[in-house]
Amino acid sequence: MTTFNTSNQNADPYASVRETTEGRVYSVTGGDWDDLVTEIGATQEERVVVNMGPQHPSTHGVLRLILELEGETVTEVRCGIGYLHTGIEKNIEYRSWTQGVTFVTRMDYLAPFFNEAAYCLAVEKLLGITDQIPERASIIRVMLMEFNRISSHLVALGTGALELGALSPMIFAFRERELILNVYEMITGLRMNSAYIRPGGVAMDLPEDAIPKLREIVKELRTNLKDTEKLLVGNTIWMKRTVGVAYLDLPGCISLGVTGPVLRSTGLPWDLRKTQPYCGYENYDFDVVTADSCDVYGRFLIRIYEMEQSLRIIEQALDKLKPGPVMVADKKIAWPAQLALSGDGLGNSLDHIREIMGSSMESLIHHFKLVTEGFRVPAGQAYATVESPRGELGAHVISDGGTKPYRVHFRDPSFNNLQSTSAMCEGSLIADVVAAVASIDPVMGGVDR
């Protein structure tokens, strides 16, 4: 039961008080801070519950942090999530398998290619064509995923630094990110959320002049990434803010199901690209970056050095590229459209249209049936995982034999990693909460799906 404090004639309309079963609740929507503080001070209640609401510049997206404070020390942290819940998993049940890619790509919007890759790997497992994916498609997938890893880490570093007060690294990080977004645009047509990786391979082949441009961009990235590194690594203020903050050691990580840079900051070199390789990762030579300190600084260093390792992988991928098909050979599954950029935008290439309308009836039928109905996937379930920049991203796909997925569930790494905020932050200062959330690097689209 709540009673409003109507006895006070000077009741502040912006800072009302009400009594609830949990004690007094103060709603502060403006008004005089000093008045409020004196009133709270008068109640002898030392613990204050503060809501770092869903709209806040320092919480990575729409995350609601409910902090119980004793002075400046945080005694309890609870996360309120669900503010970005989109019902993607239910929506996919009404779309065909290929259309599912367009939905899935928007879950973890900083790492769209990883979402697509996990989904497509699971669907290909169900179809049983994992071995028939052409090598060129796998190499392009690896290349795009590694570029995506770099761009995601850049956003993590930039926004993490921004939240802790360092404004310049964000500008540097986003400058680098523009280079990578140019790569995506050149290859897929879109800067973000391109439904490019499809079950069976990738949607279209690389443009002809892509490889020399990509090599140039990799060279440019190598030199530019050093700028961000120089700004923050060894920076006294940065280290004071991040060393020893948000400590989560190995037993903590394992019991909380935390994977990714947070797990690797404890010293365990667990990286799915090495331990359970997919898409041909076993053929690439790269190191798994770990740190020993289990704190924010360690995770930050891991992200910086992982970007360098990703550049190594991309160079190896560019060397491995050989001409070939990019879609599986089975015409009953392969996405039929050959897209090309023409005067009025991206659409079916004229060659393809000439073929299906003029020469091959089968191509026409395949194109029609695959685009309208989609292919059928035999019944069963599969769980495919990729190592996304945030941890293990798993796609659990259940099929009932039809053209639409029966159930798609994503095990998003941010969802599990965010649970560990309480373990990391209780007992620390409010500013450390911000650093901890920045080091986990949650993407709320993936958390809430």
Binding site: T29, G53, G61, M192, D448
Partner: protein, 184 residues
């Protein structure tokens, strides 16, 4: 040197409306309301390559009380809608809203139980910006169109007249379900 050199006898005449419009549009401060993917493109628009600072808008105010413009960037879920309305209410007049992206304009590709089908169900929107996500250049185009709108806004009695005219026009206009387009 500038405009002050070219003035005849050193006097510049203008109307209060034009002056107020000029001041308002050249220092619009956006409030951070980045929700999902469009927020990343909004951040890219504020970063070095597509620079919003050229309009004086690179300071994304954390507090809505200091902001003029709310760029709703991303999908608004049913749980987030009351928060959106509260932030809008906390902004001081004059305020404008850009619905950035397909999800904010109309629910986008997510036509389901969880997403508000268009942020105009919750707040009045001035500019709808389609795209999934719209490029930073598209966002800047929307901002420039908004600048034009703001620069031409009327004050006082003129504003009331305009509002009445717009309402009369809207009441007399053809309803959307009677517009036939190419399908009739």
């Amino acid at each position: 040197m500038g405009i002050e050199e070219k003035l005849p006898s050193g006097f510049l005449l203008t109307s209060v409306e034009k002056l107020a419009g000029y001041m308002r549009k050249n220092s619009l401060w956006p409030a951070t309301f980045g929700l999902a993917c469009c927020a990343i493109e909004m951040m890219a628009a504020g970063a070095g390559r597509y620079d919003l600072a050229r309009f004086g808008m690179e300071v994304f105010r954390a507090s809505p009380r200091q902001a003029d413009l709310m760029i709703v960037a991303g999908r608004v879920s049913n749980k987030m809608a009351p928060v959106l309305r509260q932030i809008y209410d906390q902004m001081a007049e004059p305020k404008w809203v850009i619905a950035m992206g397909a999800c904010a304009s109309s629910g986008g590709m997510f036509n389901n139980y969880a997403i508000v089908q268009g942020v105009d169900h919750v707040v009045p929107v001035d500019i709808y910006l389609p795209g999934c996500p719209p490029r930073p250049e598209m966002l800047m185009d929307a901002i420039l169109k908004l600048h034009e709108q703001i620069g031409n806004e009327k004050l006082g009695i003129n504003r009331e007249m305009i509002v009445r005219e717009v309402e009369a026009a809207a009441l007399a206009a053809l309803p959307t379900h009677q517009m036939k387009g190419l399908l009739a």
